[in-house]
Amino acid sequence: MANYNAIKYDGFSKGSLTLIKTLTASSDDTLEFVDGTSSVVLDSTYKEYMFIFNNLHVSADNADFVWQANAAGGSGYNETITSTYFRSHFLEGGSDEFLIYNTTNDQAQGTGFNPLLKELGYDNDQSGSGYLHLFNPSGTTFAKHFISKCHAHGAVDSAVTNFTAGYLNTTSAIDEVQFIMSSGDIDAGTIQLFGVA
């Protein structure tokens, strides 16, 4: 028997993605999602969370948009990360088209901020958009996997698709996530947090 969902939506289940929180940047040094603060849910309510980035604009040319996490009860955004990074790239001028793994942007048990968007341009019309999936952050058995794909309008007038993935190598629950720029601030743009039911 067809259920309401099948009849009405014929595709996604309407409850499958739930908006939890929208943060809008305005020359912010950081944007943070902390479970239990400002209506943010980042716990066992959902097995998967999705952050969507729209038109992030940097104050400093060539800055990277990066992120880190903090374990419940911990201090500092400095979880251990092992990650991969590759990108496809093409200049508006028609050169430098390539697909490359970039070893300077991955981490091997590092505790630094992990890149999502590299080398953003700061012209008035330049920005970056994309998404980050974070799986089961509240688990206390497994490492925490993440997958991201983001597209940047690069500082050298390029189209750059950034692919990052990895895991927070901790069995502690993750309940805080922070986003920053590698230099300058997050001049504008939105980050939305969704729970995936």
Partner: protein, 201 residues
């Protein structure tokens, strides 16, 4: 009080939240020259109602061996927004060859206005098709360029039947709002298939 959503999914949703993926429009091809989503036409919403839009294309089948493509309208009546894009693919043949991952320079664009390839050519075997999705971010912005990212999987024929997974992404390098998106084959018609448009609230 339990809500419909609670009972349907057997989960307690946080207070004040709701379903965030909103179906907007489904188009079904039938030997169609193109499938177009035009804001304000036929119940299509493609404006600042949503920040992020997702197009799902399912079982797109061509009438002639050709590539499934997309373009964007930025103010005029034509689908010709200026784009800079990247494109790469991985392949695996049904006979175990090729097995490749490669940047495809012939399918990207540098400030081009033509239709962007979503995948390589799909042959016309009855079971051949392409399926995938495209994210389009903030199409109504009049400040920034418009980012889009496409992933698809096709049953293609490039010297032998194979899967081709393609990754296309780029910008419409315009600050004018994008108010319509058109899909079509590089030649012939879209013989069959479905494209769904969703808004993410």
């Amino acid at each position: 009080m339990a809500t419909y959503q609670d009972s349907r999914y057997n989960i307690a949703l946080p207070s004040g939240s709701g379903g965030a993926i909103v179906p907007i429009k489904t188009l079904t091809a039938s030997s169609s020259d193109d499938l177009s989503f035009v804001n304000g036409s036929s119940d299509v919403v493609l404006d600042n109602t949503y920040r992020t839009y997702i197009f799902k294309f399912i079982n797109i089948h061509p009438s002639t061996k050709s590539a499934f493509t997309v373009n964007f309208r930025d103010g005029s009546s034509a689908y010709d927004a200026t784009k800079t894009t990247t494109f790469f693919t991985c392949h695996h043949g049904e006979d175990d060859s090729p097995t490749t991952l490669q940047y495809a320079a012939g399918s990207d664009m540098a400030q081009g206005t033509g239709f962007q390839n979503i995948n390589y050519e799909i042959d016309t075997d009855n079971d051949s098709n392409v399926s995938g999705e495209m994210y389009l971010f903030s199409p109504s912005s009049t400040t920034y360029v418009k980012h889009f990212m496409i992933e698809s999987s096709a049953t293609s024929d490039d010297g032998g039947d194979q899967i081709t997974r393609a990754f296309a992404a780029g910008i419409c390098n315009v600050t004018a709002a994008i108010d319509a998106v058109q899909f079509k084959m590089s030649s012939g018609t879209i013989d069959a298939g479905t494209i769904k448009l969703y808004g993410i609230a």
